[in-house]
Amino acid sequence: MKVRLWGTRGSLAAAGPETIRYGGNTACVEVRGSDDHLIVLDAGSGIRRLGATVGDDVRRIDILLSHLHMDHIQGLGFFAPLFRSASEIHIWGPPSGRRSLRDRLTRYLSPPLFPVPLRDLPSDLTLHEAPTDAPFAVGAIGVSAALVIHPGPTLGYRLSAGDRTLAYLPDHEPALGSRHFPEPHEWLSGFGLAVGADLLIHDAQYTDAEYAERVGWGHSSLAQAVAFASAAGVRRLLTFHHDPGHDDASLERSLASASAVSHMDLIGGAEGLALDLAR
């Protein structure tokens, strides 16, 4: 399984000379299995540059949305394959129990927020509420989805191919309300998705001091991400959803500090980074 990061920023795109190293685009990750089928995790602003690399010959693409906050869907209307009549696009997203995924996505992909209504996109578009009660297959990759702690219905995903596993929890606050974080496994949000993963891409938006001021906003501190990854026994932790106010220098300092006190194999999520989980 191959993974490439196209957007690692959280909440709001943050382009500028101070974010060149880790990038300014919001959440988007490309995943490809042995069949080279394209799976896209989230459609933040990073999906625009990914779309520019997708050839006209690519027919089916699956986009797995963790949730529908703007920083995870704002790039959809700029994803070139959506505007090709030969494209078959499947968008998977969280169930709400109240409104269909199409209704909820249409709130953004319609005037006045966006000029082209969803129904007018020329591609063959299918929307799925991702099942949370059983795994499903996307190409050669098995996918499990589960709700995790974040405001509004939000999914984390576990992608498996052969003996390799990627866990993706970009927006996650497992420490919310916890008196003894990390809690025992059965009471730890996201544990079933992350347990034993070769790579965990996880929310690490805040410093500890920032988290104390933003409890309940749906995100984790870097220290909490490391604690969660340790509890889940993952092999490598990739930090993600960087706060738009954190420049490259502050991210470097935070990662160095966390690495100094943890045995976790820690990777700073940087736009453009490519990893092959087979290695």
Binding site: D133, V148, G177, W187, L188, F191, V195
Partner: protein, 129 residues
């Protein structure tokens, strides 16, 4: 063991902060948590009790009517919430794990999650004599 449904995780965390006694069962009826406020009525700390299967807690607490008759499952607020998926309120007597009998008011509520029923919660408090 994978983690429990997120709705149960969040409710347990909320319950741990509330001074209102709460008793939470999963979709199978297994008692998975009661909070500190409930410990006085249950007669034992949850950490000393841990989880109890439905038959275990029914036998242990022996919920009964004021006249001593056992409460039928259909009239048990927690089981009604779980099996009939409706709220129910009742005054009843339970036997604590310390052996003491206590008269309580109990309201059961089903917990409908995004993907269906994930369990039920009973909110209860001492009944006026």
């Amino acid at each position: 063991m994978p983690q429990r449904p997120i709705e149960l995780i969040l409710l347990r965390q909320l319950a741990s902060y509330l001074a209102t006694p709460m008793f939470i069962v999963d979709a199978d009826g297994t008692l998975v948590y009661y909070n500190e406020a409930a410990e006085e009525l249950v007669g034992r700390r949850f950490e000393e009790t841990t989880e109890m299967a439905r038959e275990e807690w029914l036998a242990a607490f022996a919920p009964h009517e004021l006249d001593g008759a056992l409460v039928a499952d259909a009239d048990n607020p927690l089981l009604a919430a779980l099996e009939q998926r409706c709220e129910q309120h009742r005054t009843l007597v339970i036997r604590g794990l310390d052996g003491a009998e206590r008269r309580i008011e109990a309201t059961g509520l089903p917990l409908e999650g995004q993907a269906g029923l994930v369990g039920a919660v009973a909110i209860f408090w001492p009944a006026a004599e």
